[in-house]
């Protein structure tokens, strides 16, 4: 019986907890970018998913080039080395979009809706550029050691009947996400520029009266949001695979995470990211095998015991969004903006 409980726990860890932590970190990084732009530039940026795709694409091209030169990181994926390229490209794209599109409306103090619609235009352009450059198909660019913990080895070492596998990309995702978030919070809480961003987000007029340069704040916001997007996108691509259209679809769970956590609140975006990821995976996981371990013989279920079919994965994030909006419209973390 005891060993069954351990097996059940390993099973859940393998199929729910580990993947959800990786996916949640990716969503959290993306949602942070959305929430920053929302909190400071005050519009819902529909181009964020494609900005992510753009940065990832640059990282992939860099990876291919490095691989062609025979440069690698051994056990770690080469993409890690190419990440700065992706970040630079995403930041450049975001700043170019701001220069050519968003600034015009910001200076005229257009309604947020106008900026959102303009971001749809940017989304189209970025989407097309990515597809022109790398094509619409799946691109795989992960290399290095695939598994940090291999299911078979885990079984033979522990003697359990369930295996636990942890991919390098999953550990890398968590490590990079923690590092990025720590750096972001340090920046926002401790540095002059970070405080200026928080002040601007809190009370734009008063920030201006205090001498905060709006152009600098906007520039920093784009740079940070785009960097996080490139990191999130590259990690997602390493963990799953890169296909431009998938990134457009990631927009929805990222928005859900940002809103669920409370717009303009970094902590909320992170919590929202993990909430969405865990719900998506936990609700679409078939619990048949799990229940076989924990329930007595005569209570074994016949079906898969899957609460929702896997095809509804993306819908889960939205369902959470609606419930939170109706139940607590300010999001889970209220009262603290940036």
């Amino acid at each position: 019986m005891d060993i069954d409980i351990v097996n059940a726990a390993v099973l859940l860890a393998n199929f729910v907890v580990v993947p959800a932590i990786a996916y949640g970190s990716q969503l959290a990084l993306g949602a942070l970018g959305i929430t920053l732009v929302y909190g400071i530039l005050r519009f819902a940026n529909f181009s964020h998913g494609d900005l992510m795709a753009f940065g990832t694409m640059a990282a992939i091209l860099g990876t291919w080039q490095l691989q062609a030169w025979g440069i690698g990181l051994g056990l770690l994926p080469t993409a890690l080395l190419a990440l700065p390229v992706g970040i630079a490209a995403a930041v450049a794209a975001a700043l170019a979009a701001d220069r050519t599109v968003f600034r015009f409306y910001r200076v005229r103090r257009s309604a947020p809706m106008v900026l959102s619609i303009a971001s749809v235009g940017v989304m189209f352009v970025l989407n097309g550029v990515v597809r022109v450059i790398v094509g619409p198909d799946d691109r795989s660019f992960s290399d290095g050691a695939r598994y940090l913990i291999n299911a078979r080895e885990f079984k033979s070492v522990t003697g359990l009947s369930e295996g636990l596998s942890v991919r390098t990309s999953q550990v890398l995702t968590l490590a990079l996400a923690v590092a990025a978030v720590a750096a972001l919070f340090w920046f926002l809480q401790r540095t002059r520029a970070g405080k200026a961003m928080r002040a601007y987000s809190d009370n734009e007029d008063l920030a201006l009266l205090s001498g905060v340069e709006p152009d600098r704040v906007v520039l920093l916001t784009w740079a940070i949001a785009a960097s996080l997007a490139a990191i999130a996108g590259t990690l997602y691509g390493l963990d799953k695979s890169f296909q431009p259209f998938t990134y457009l679809q990631l927009l929805l769970p990222m928005f859900a995470a940002a809103i669920v956590g409370g717009i303009g609140q970094p902590m909320g975006a992170i919590a929202g990211g993990f909430l969405v990821a865990f719900s998506e995976i936990a609700l679409t996981y078939p619990y048949k095998k799990f229940l076989r371990y924990v329930l007595p013989e005569d209570m074994q279920p016949d079906g898969l015991v899957q609460l929702l079919s896997t095809d509804y994965k993306l819908s889960v994030s939205f369902a959470i969004l609606v419930v939170v909006l109706l139940w607590r419209p300010t999001g889970l973390f209220r009262g603290r903006v940036l």
Binding site: F104, F124, S315, L321, P329
Partner: protein
Amino acid sequence: MRANARAVIGFSVVAAALLAVGMGQSWSVSLAVFNLCLISAVMALGVNIQWGYAGLFNVGTMAFAALGGLAAVLVSQPPVHDAMAAGGAGLLAAVAMTCLAAGSVWLACRLLPRGRPRALGIAAAAVAGYFAVAAFFDPAVEAIEAVDPSTSGYLGGLGLPIMLSWAAGGLLAAGAAWAIGRVALGLRADYFAIATLGISEIVIAVLKNEDWLARGVKNVTGLDRPVPYEIDLQQAGWFLELVRVLNSDALAGLAEAEYAAALRELTVEASGIFVKLCYAGLFLAVLLIVLALSERALRSPWGRMMRAVRDNETAAEALGKDVYRRHMQVFVLGSAVVGVAGAMLVTLDGQFTPNSYNPLRFTFLIWVMVIVGGSGNNLGAVLGGFIVWLSWIEAEPLALWAVDALTAAMAEGDPIRVRLVEAAAHVRPILMGTILLLVMRFSPRGVIPETVGR
């Protein structure tokens, strides 16, 4: 420039472009583009009712187009009696269980004291409800999907003429819009946008996944047609005669054998064109009806009030206008129009393919049409539908042609040339985004600006 002049010029340019396509590519292609232009125009009218009249930022157009398409299947396909017998009762029971579960959640909401007891009660009712519904639903679905899965495996439809589905598509979309509006319309404008985007993805997920309803990703093909089939036309005496008369010059003086072959070829081509013309007539009729109704609504006191709500929600509310109800009205009406267009599209395609619905093509592109054409102006939305669909569909051949011209000097298999040809296929979104951004920036009121006084 007056709005009328702009409209005349705009439509002339579109007509010239369609003629150019007809002469450059083929008349069949030109007519195919024209038909999709008409459908796009109807969709754009629907979005214009929401955004142009009332400032409602609905990014869920895709869902309503797909629901219209679903209606085409449910109305026109013959019923599958075996499936009905296998799972109909189970489905009905599942529906009853759903009502029961919803009722008990509602009761728990109402009767239990606030706080923990209520939360627990609601959770218990919801979980019990879920399993009760699943107990009936899952076996019923399994039974239905087991009936001849390679060709049917779903409940089928009502076996009625497909033209009826255009109205049914509107009704279905309107009903869905009402339900969605109940949840989402209370939200802030930007949250509403994200909410509708999300709901539209859910609707598509349901259509892809619920095979018992419309076969999901296995698609429903060979839908009924409101117009004759090419193959029948090619055998009809009157049609052959018509082809003969219309082409008497080309056919004159040909020898027996050549004559038959030439006639055969002309008939095949003409039958295709004839069918497309029939569709064009039907779609044009719908477009004109919707346009006339929209125009009347826009100029009525109702339309004036709508614009008042759009231009200043707070003031309108202060004057005692029920903003929520007004928004609900336009949301339902606009979605219904999109639903009609969605049914028309599936009718034209002759098949329902849930996989083809993606937000870029069915939501954001329609938005581009409205903004390019001129938000708030019905004629503008129609023109926007034409211009944007034309550029969307012709961007690829034009880009290919440009690449060809640029790389004419290169060898056939040159990797750069191959790469460029591949890339040319994806310039569409770039073009669309650029058009949208340029219009927003330099002509924010669109090609034909709103004319009614604000």
